[in-house]
Subunit: 209 residues, 2 copies
Amino acid sequence: MGIKERKELEKQEMRRLILDTAMKLFLEKGLENVTIRHIAEKIEYSPATIYLYFKDKDDIIYTLHREGFEQLYKLQQTTLSIRDPLERLRKQGEVYVSFAMENPEYYDLMFIMRGPVKKIKEMKEWDIGFRSFEFLRQNIKECMEAGLFPEANIDIATFSLWSYAHGIVSLIIRDRCTMFPEDKIRNIVDEALDFMLGTMFDNKVEIKS
Amino acid sequence: MGIKERKELEKQEMRRLILDTAMKLFLEKGLENVTIRHIAEKIEYSPATIYLYFKDKDDIIYTLHREGFEQLYKLQQTTLSIRDPLERLRKQGEVYVSFAMENPEYYDLMFIMRGPVKKIKEMKEWDIGFRSFEFLRQNIKECMEAGLFPEANIDIATFSLWSYAHGIVSLIIRDRCTMFPEDKIRNIVDEALDFMLGTMFDNKVEIKS
DNA sequence: TTAATTAACTTAACAGTGTTCAGTTAATGA
DNA sequence: TCATTAACTGAACACTGTTAAGTTAATTAA
């Protein structure tokens, strides 16, 4: 049965081609300016062909959304090499923010766009995003248990730190930071991250000493 | 010249009618599901008529964007009655978050949607949003001068606090908080705000005592 | 009062969107 | 060799924002 397998492989390759082309166009033209017809034209197929590989446009976006979370989770796991949980937490913040700044279109469809959420609710597939949340939560829990983190409800604390990082990058991705010069923005992001973690943890140390 | 004035008045009334209808539909159907044709149908005019009062769809959204900032600024100013700058800052956070939670469509077009930004860049009209940023900045400056706030670059601190509040509400508005039950969300928002302000300021006191 | 002008509005279209369905090829299996 | 299946497309549908030409109605000037 070599043929069936080959067919399946070709099907996967075609899906890959569509996804890669879609993402390339998203990067070039911005998320909202890419149409099914553009993608079709780029891969030199008829628009209708795309619907043989994906249910609809949101299905393409949803798939990229999943792959984005896959990437992000892998990045998050690189922090596991750090022993000190607070250091690891800081690194997680950096990793998250870097991911967003380097892949703004991925970040947008993962955390800002409305499209993918519809699909997720239809399919009841929260687990991918949930896993990343849980990873952060676990890190915060460790910090608390080590007395490095203010005692509080863990869910609230996790949501809070996530919100903070998300706030920074989403204001920039959606272009609400025009009060800062373009070329300083990357610096400001890093400083904002330092500021928040600094005010949360370092001032304790300062006062102790 | 009573007639010219009346005409002008009627023109303004028509603009108002379009804006109010648009906003009502936004609230009903969500921002992305409202079309010019819907608005036109609701006010019982032809779609083309709307283009006699607004340049294009983004112009409508941009105008609502402006009005949203007007509202927000007024709300911000209600905090001026509070003497203690740190208390006032906390209140500002509450006011901001409340505004977002009670007017999610306004918040969305003010701080998330891409549309209005295009218009703002065309017209180079940053001042409305800038004013609110400046107001927060001033409050933080006062806190710093009173020694109530960790010493830091004011711009970074302002951006940071704004980011934090924005992060919380935008994750909820764009439906990324499905790990929390719907009916708990309003509480979680408040607790997250408390958590952040708490870790930033209160733990100083705790350690001293 | 009547004719010319202007304003308010609509009709009908254009180009573009996501999506579907009937039809056409080409590859496969009996 | 022939029937079946898979891959693909052309042409359409129902939408979208937007505009140009045409039609009324209100206003102004004679």
